[in-house]
Symmetry: C2
Subunit: 314 residues, 2 copies
């Protein structure tokens, strides 16, 4: 009987899950690796993965697919583009894994896209033919699924939802060098900044945020009746609803999934978000559901396992 | 040997093409039908189509696929939605065709989507896995192709490029009831209106436009050095480039195709359009080509023939 590995790739460690071919997660293991651009560390990856599958009664030749989830662009052909936040030798890692798991198909997937695939396989989008997932974290990522397949894009920019322009008058510059991106409003960083703007505009001090992505404090303040927090969340919902409305005019998905750390406040903003979406979308799309994700931060692991399994069985 | 029919459906006539299964267009025939919501007229459709294929040596049972191109929404399941501009009983027409061409697979496709498929089969997008076609006519339509398949959308709104919001400050109301849609800037109607605005703002009379969609006059004026016409075309290109940039952040197609009557002025606006697109898009997508379509107003006929052929051979 075969098994599948789904691997979240970080800069100095990986988190791997071993799955049945039906998508049941059997076990998870975090493997500290050191610098993943250093060839010497790849042996550690293989040892950790081998240990993980053996603990569940599998041998290396039982692994039929290995998926790797990377924080950067991966194009239609599965080629990894420039990674700005981590140091990773994708080819080296791939060769190392291939040498140990000789029967396995390999697939690299962008992390936000992987999360979408995970939700498709075993999460909120099970059975859906089309949907768009929006991951609200430190930044804003996304995954577009159409006809049951991920739209990764010709240069890997499919699902770069965070860089839809939602305010042409914005003066602050986004990480991408442009202005007025959704990410500036709907990421954790964006929400904290919107809150600080609202406090400044009202001349109030507001709740003390601990760091640049501390949405927990903003959400807590909102629950306790802080008007600046409520206004910040309303602005965020308005711009997110506007962005989803644009997406509907392009791919018209059967539903939207909201994930990432910020989705922890989904109950706080979902009414405003629905209202904004309906206000901005074309009439035929007004009923498109917007729901929260199910798999939390394991979605990516599920998704890459699924992508690799598809490669193996194609 | 089999053949394929591709049919442009209008309110009181149809235009049909007979194709080889390799996509060679053998003959075209316009068939006046009368009201296509009246069951009595369906016999005329069948007679006309039968005559067309017989003139090329085919019998009714040789027709392996019939595609129908309608000016309105068609969902993922091929179901025709509400048609606002023509009177058509889609089910009745389908039954009638099925009764004559008993071996044929049938497919309905939205007209703008059909044009995209036509360009994919035999036009500017041959061999492309992904692209977005923008049809600039009286309105603005579009077709999104990803993974070699049309993204028609859960309620048939996939490729409704004309209703991407490109100016939140617009005061005029679009046909869809919203404000600031791309269609208000990049359709023939939009271009004529932009020209009239520019003339008014400059206090000049400008060239005399013949009707609300007379872009020929605007393009001619521009070629003759009319500054108001040049400014109108620059605004149109700017907003179209902005819209394409949004699309790239969502589906990242390998190219854009510009079609429809307005594409007759492509040489006039393509430099401005490229410049605007590059200014607004995320950096990795800056090199995405933007080209003119090849098949002109026969693209839809090619596209529905192709869609039906895919149904037949699936």
């Amino acid at each position: 009987m075969g098994c599948v590995l789904g691997i979240d790739v970080g800069g100095t460690s990986i988190k791997a899950g071993v799955f049945t071919t039906e998508g049941e997660l059997l076990d998870v293991k975090k493997i500290p690796t050191g610098d993943l651009a250093d060839p010497k560390t790849f042996a550690r990856v293989n040892d950790g993965l081998t240990e993980l599958i053996q603990s569940r009664g599998f041998a290396c030749e039982d692994v039929i697919a290995v998926g790797l989830d990377v924080p950067g662009p991966v194009d239609d052909q599965g080629k990894v583009g420039m990674l700005v936040n981590i140091s990773l030798d994708a080819d080296g890692l791939q060769d190392a894994i291939r040498s140990t798991f000789t029967n396995a198909a390999l697939a690299f997937v962008n992390d936000a896209n992987a999360a979408a695939l995970g939700e498709l396989w075993r999460g909120s989008a099970m059975g859906k033919d089309s949907f768009v997932m929006v991951t609200l974290g430190t930044g804003v990522g996304g995954g577009v699924v159409a006809g049951g397949k991920l739209v990764s894009g010709s240069v890997g920019a499919g699902g770069e939802i965070g860089h839809i322009t939602v305010c042409e008058d914005e003066e602050l510059v986004c990480g991408c060098g442009r202005r007025g991106c959704l990410e500036q409003y709907a990421s954790a960083t964006g929400i904290v900044r919107l809150y600080q703007r609202e406090c400044a505009a009202r001349g109030v001090e507001g709740a003390k945020v601990e760091h640049a992505t501390d949405t927990l404090t903003v959400f807590k303040a909102c629950r306790e009746g802080d008007e600046a927090a409520a206004a910040a969340i309303k602005t965020m919902s308005d711009r997110l609803g506007f962005a989803l409305a644009q997406i509907s005019s392009i791919v018209d998905p059967s539903c939207y999934l909201i994930g990432g750390g910020v989705a922890g406040g989904f109950d706080l903003f979902c009414d405003d978000l629905h209202e904004a979406y309906k206000k901005y979308c074309i009439a035929p799309c007004a009923q498109t559901p917007i729901v929260a994700c199910k798999l939390g931060n394991e979605a990516g692991m599920y998704g890459v396992a699924y992508a690799a399994l598809q490669e193996a069985t194609e």
